[in-house]
């Protein structure tokens, strides 16, 4: 475990995997409660994609570091989870907030997976290539929903805009340098500025077609949040739920 948590590449992978795990965790909770049955089903399929992507990445790390993928997923100390605070922010079953959040994260993850697959590691690239088309589908659907809801009349537009206003301040922390055990100036997380610019441009393009506005800022490198183990209280709530059953009988097979 220690070797994985101090390896810069593993840390970068964990940041994406943990985003996917906790995002899938929060989004799968909507199953059965969505705003219309057809979209309930579709959104649940995407939550399963997210959880599956987390699993693919945990399995990759598990093979490399001889760890069980469930142990990586469920049994680290909270400080060693590297998801950003945006993913665990409760949406209170507000569909506007859920869609905006999923979209902001999906666009980031799409770029992040591209970056991971460009690293010279054939095995990692193969895993990423299984994720990429599913991620692209997710981005396409979410962009379509943002455009649809942003242009569907004042009630809908106001709700989506309000969700954007609530989330835009947190969104920059998607780009936080991950891994509390690594130096914050570690340059392995290369291209942070460029990636933020590309992400912002893509987001702004969709916003401009959706009757919506938001501005985002790249936080200082030194700013510490969830990716460096300093999680918001909502992460700890989600983590308690995530691990509740496993804690009944630690080490058991489930």
């Amino acid at each position: 475990m220690e070797a994985m948590l101090t390896n810069p590449l593993a840390v970068l992978i964990l940041a994406h995997a943990d985003d996917k795990l906790l995002l899938g965790h929060v989004q799968s909770d909507w199953t059965g409660l969505g705003p219309l049955l057809e979209e309930d089903i579709a959104a649940s399929a995407m939550a399963q994609d997210d959880l599956s992507h987390a699993l693919i990445l945990y399995q990759f790390l598990g093979e490399r570091y001889e760890l069980d993928s469930d142990v990586i997923a469920f049994e680290r100390e909270p400080v060693d989870y590297m998801c950003c605070d945006l993913v665990t922010k409760p949406d209170e079953f507000d569909w506007a907030e859920a869609v905006v959040k999923r979209w902001l994260i999906a666009e980031f993850t799409g770029m992040g997976i591209d970056r991971l697959s460009a690293i010279e590691d054939k095995e990692l690239a193969a895993r990423c290539n299984r994720i990429k088309p599913e991620q692209a589908l997710q981005i396409k659907h979410l962009q379509a929903w943002i455009k649809r809801l942003g242009t569907a009349g004042p009630e809908s537009q106001e709700r989506i805009q309000a969700a954007l206003d609530r989330l835009s301040g947190l969104a920059g922390m998607l780009f936080e340098v991950p891994g509390q055990r690594l130096p914050v100036n570690d340059d392995f997380c290369c291209g942070r500025d460029e990636m933020f610019k590309a992400w912002d441009a893509s987001i702004q393009e969709t916003l401009s077609q959706s009757n919506l506005k938001a501005s985002f800022a790249l936080p200082e490198r030194s700013l510490i949040g969830g990716r460096r183990g300093t999680h918001a209280s909502h992460f700890h709530d989600q983590f308690d739920e995530l691990t509740e059953v496993r804690r009944v009988s630690p080490g058991a097979s489930w």
């Binding site: 219309l36 057809e38 469930d70 809801l149």
Partner: protein, 340 residues
Amino acid sequence: MSGAANPVKPLEQTGHEDPDKLAEFEQHIANGGLIEPGDWMPDAYRMGMLGMAEHHANSEIIGALPEGEWITRAPSMRRKLALTAKVQDEVGHGQMLYRVSQELGKSRDDMLRDLVMGKTKYHNCFNYPAPTWGDIAMIQWLIDGAAIMNQKTLADGAYGPYVRTMNRINMEEAFHFKSGEDMVLTLMSGTKSQKNMCQDAFDRWWPVSLMFFGPADKPDAENKPAMKWRMKVEKNDSLRQRFVDRFAPAAMDLGLIINIVTKNEQGLVTSASPDEELVLNEETGNWSFTDPDWDEFWRVIRGNGPCNAHRLSLRRFSYEQGAWVRRAIGSGTTSLPPAA
């Protein structure tokens, strides 16, 4: 999940139907024929099928709630994925069965509204709590196992659109049941606290499973429209017996004790002692067993079960919380101000 426990309301032939057409219809069904939407059918049949499909659809989307509570707590990546997919399937079954009902003449919105306002019913078993992970294993093994038995008979019914849909649904029930069986086997091969969790959940769900098929049919059920028209093809007691014959020995082999229990208002077990009636009749191959508490069944079906109010309340929250999205995508309604 659940083909309903005898949801077919007593149907009265209204007498206004053309007797020749009715005779032809009944002969076609008696010959094993199926009914397709363009065929002539008695009004009572159409209303009966609508009531049955609507009840079934309601059961699917309410049935998504107790298990949905555990998606965030599932103890491994695979279980988390499986439970999400399972609950998603229930929503999908609900969607398909609402479509069958819509084609029989009632809008989905009306059905959802009637459901959350308590004007229509859903399967009684979802009014019981699922307080541990063991309950998730038991729901998928016992309740989905019972549902498969029931729905296999529903797929032998006479109404084409329902039969088609049931065949698709049963394909997915196979996954639900196997996944539940895998969970039960895993818990019963596990640690002491896992076994205890499993036994406690079994105590809660065994009596609910016995009630699943509904109370005994009236003696002349074969001659009443529901069976004569093949809306249902097997009597409740007969399905219940097959269920016990299959699951009682399996449970005992797993190391589970089949108890008679008493429950409190929250649906939690307050006392349990082994069912002394549980004996195999070697001649018939049938197991005898203690009947479940039918007073409790009627109390719960009338709305006074442990979770009736909570299930409907959460379902209503979902309906109201999502209304703006439906308004936004619905044609021509988006410019209206929000409902006051």
